[in-house]
């Protein structure tokens, strides 16, 4: 039994530890998943910002290049068409200045560009250098010279170069666009992966949670089952205890009865017979024989004392009145007996009490009244006590009221009171004791009718 208990408690402890760890693990898993998702999202956000920034700087730089290229060519064309004149406000230095701006813009193009982009840019640079060179040649030749065929071809070439530069610029732009798109794609891919990861974590947590709650449910139901079993065991053992104490009361009563009978019938009657014989003897011995007569008288008084004490003992153990006369006369006898011995007067009142009461009911009521009266006479200094036994169709109602000093009923619980409770409970009855210092004591008992008649 104890080994079983030990083992099961050990098992329970183990299970508890497992559950604790599992719940801890689940929580940790959820926290990790959350943190990871947060971290990834933050990272993604950073990347996105970086990408868009890069895109916008590249686009801006490219736009600056394009604008400067356009301005350069615009200035150059204007110069070539109208020559150096103050009206048009164009001169070589101005064009060269614009060229410098183009170079500057090309220089300022962000350095973090891809090789492909770099190649395109260097091609633009190269073409532009060629363009500038071509312009320089043209300007030198133009001074004082009429434009000729070669010049025109050069102009065409320059136009072509310009268109080429612009196309490359567009290529760069579209390259940037593609880069952005790629970045966005990769970002959305990594976002998807974060999503997948988070989702799988959630699914995993859910699964673990489900498993855990199953385990927990199993554990709880096991505990419940254990609790129920223990409760049943408790109830059973309490019932056993009650039955045992009932048997104890019965056994005690039976023992008392047999000892009482033995004392009263055997010892008492033998002494009685002895007394009769002694009387005979004293008649046979001449009255003048003082010596013998004195002896006989002494023996007689000893025998009488023995008879008296035996009888008192027998009465205390089990009053024969209960069997000879029934409950009410026995109670009346008891009341008078207490009145005779002490200062308390006992009145016994009875109503409709059956003469066919079951023995255990008689004994119960008798002992109850006995205990209550004894307590009143011994401890309370009561002058008067009233015993009332009333039988109705439903129950038998016993009440013992005294005018003694009383006691704090809610605190004092002697063996006598416990004994009363035990007896009354055995007959499915109820007992109430009302008392408080200075207010006397009332003992109330009720025994239901189904237990009253002889079985």
């Amino acid at each position: 039994m104890t080994e079983d208990n030990l083992q099961s408690s050990k098992r329970a402890r183990k299970l508890r530890r497992v559950l604790f760890l599992a719940f801890g693990g689940l929580l940790a898993m959820m926290v990790v998943a959350g943190l990871d998702a947060l971290h990834s999202l933050r990272q993604l956000d950073g990347i996105e910002r970086q990408v868009s920034q890069r895109y916008s700087t590249h686009t801006q730089a490219l736009t600056t290049i394009l604008i400067s290229v356009h301005v350069y060519h615009d200035r150059m064309e204007r110069y070539l068409l109208s020559g150096e004149s103050p009206e048009s406000g164009t001169n070589v230095a101005d064009v060269q200045n614009c060229g410098a701006r183009v170079r500057d813009a090309l220089q300022k193009y962000p350095a973090d560009s891809e090789p492909e982009e770099q190649a395109l840019l260097s091609e633009i640079q190269q073409k532009f250098s060629e363009q500038e060179n071509a312009f320089t040649v043209l300007v030198r030749q133009q001074v004082g010279e009429r434009p000729d065929e070669r010049q025109e071809r050069m102009g065409e070439q320059m136009m072509l170069r310009r268109a080429y530069i612009l196309r490359i610029s567009r290529d760069v732009s579209s390259l940037n666009d593609r880069k952005l798109m790629e970045a966005e794609q990769s970002m959305s891919a990594s976002f998807r992966s974060v999503q997948t990861r988070l989702m799988s974590m959630v699914a995993l947590s859910l699964l673990a949670g489900l498993l855990l709650s199953l385990l927990g449910g199993f554990y709880v139901s096991k505990l419940e089952r254990q609790g129920r079993t223990r409760y049943q065991e408790l109830v059973a053992s309490r019932q056993e205890l009650e039955a045992l104490s009932a048997r104890l009361v019965d056994a005690q009563e039976e023992e008392r009865r047999s000892i009482s009978r033995e004392l009263h019938d055997e010892v008492g009657q033998t002494l009685g017979a002895l007394l009769v014989d002694l009387g005979q003897l004293s008649k046979l011995v001449p009255a003048e024989d003082k010596f013998l007569q004195g002896h006989i008288t002494r023996i007689k008084s000893i025998a009488e004392a023995a008879v008296k004490s035996i009888r008192n003992l027998a009465l205390l153990l089990r009053p024969p009145m209960l069997d000879d006369l029934g409950l009410v006369p026995a109670l009346e006898w008891q009341g008078r007996e207490i009145s005779r011995r002490g200062d308390m007067e006992v009145d016994v009142h009875s109503e409709a009490v059956s003469e066919q009461l079951a023995d255990d009911v008689k004994v119960c009521v008798y002992r109850l009244v006995q205990e209550a009266l004894m307590n009143a006479a011994r401890h309370s200094g009561a002058k008067h006590a009233q015993v009332s036994v009333v039988q109705s169709r439903e129950s038998i109602h016993v009440q013992i009221v005294d005018d003694g000093s009383g006691f704090p009923a809610e605190r004092v619980r002697g063996m006598g009171i416990l004994g009363m409770e035990e007896r009354v409970k055995r007959l499915e009855g109820s007992l109430a004791i009302k008392s408080s210092p200075g207010k006397g004591t009332t003992v109330l008992a009720e025994i239901p009718a189904q237990r009253l008649e002889q079985r």
Binding site: H264, Q269, L275, V276, R340
Partner: protein
């Protein structure tokens, strides 16, 4: 002279033989049978028809009081002397209600038995002096503690005379003849006595008389 025929009922052989020796020392008494329990007593009474039955109260199978009640029903002419260990009112009253004429304590049986048998044999009642004393003591104590008057003082001299005669076992007719009264007047006296003393029935009246020492 006709002997008084006696039946002994006691569950103890020793007690019975002691009593038998005691009784048979008297020339006018004879023991016609012995019963060891109440049932046997009832049976032997029917077959032996004794004048007096001396019976212990505490006996197995059928106790003395119940046996006495049965015998009073079937043989009212038989005088019953109850033997008892107890001098308490409960026993005395029960014995009287069962029809016993005498009540004897076992302690004093040896001294009083002969007188008791003679008394009941003559149709009178007999109570051990110790019983009368206990009854009287209880009565006086109760009166004193409750502070009430003895209702006996409320009785008129004539009522007291009637009380004594009724307690001694006389019928209304006997009493009427004795005092030269009508039976009706005696009945009125009786009911007055009962009312003043708060008694219910002849057994209680006899008990009261014993208690007061009016009869013994």
């Amino acid at each position: 002279m006709r002997k008084i025929r006696i039946l002994l009922a006691d569950d103890h052989k020793l007690m019975r033989s002691g009593l038998r020796v005691l009784l048979e020392q008297q020339a006018d008494l004879t023991v016609v049978g012995e019963a060891s329990d109440g049932r046997e007593a009832v049976a032997l009474v029917a077959s032996h028809r004794p004048d007096v039955l001396v019976m212990d109260i505490g006996m197995p199978t059928l106790n003395g009081i119940e046996a006495a009640a049965q015998i009073t029903q079937s043989h009212p002419e038989i005088a019953i002397v109850m033997l008892s260990m107890h001098s308490d009112e409960s026993y005395v009253l029960r014995a009287l209600k069962a029809g016993a004429k005498g009540y004897l304590l076992k302690d004093s049986a040896e001294a009083d038995l002969i007188r008791a048998v003679h008394s009941v044999g003559e149709g009178k009642s007999y109570f051990s002096p110790a019983v009368s004393k206990v009854l009287l003591d209880d009565y006086i104590r109760k009166l004193k503690r409750s502070g009430t008057e003895d209702p006996y003082d409320l009785l008129t001299p004539r009522e007291r005379e009637v009380l004594q005669l009724v307690a001694e076992g006389k019928s209304n007719k006997d009493v009427a003849q004795l005092f030269n009264l009508s039976v009706y007047t005696v009945e009125t006296h009786r009911s007055n006595i009962m009312e003043k003393l708060n008694l219910h029935g002849v057994p209680e009246l006899i008990l009261y008389a014993v208690r007061k020492g009016i009869i013994s």
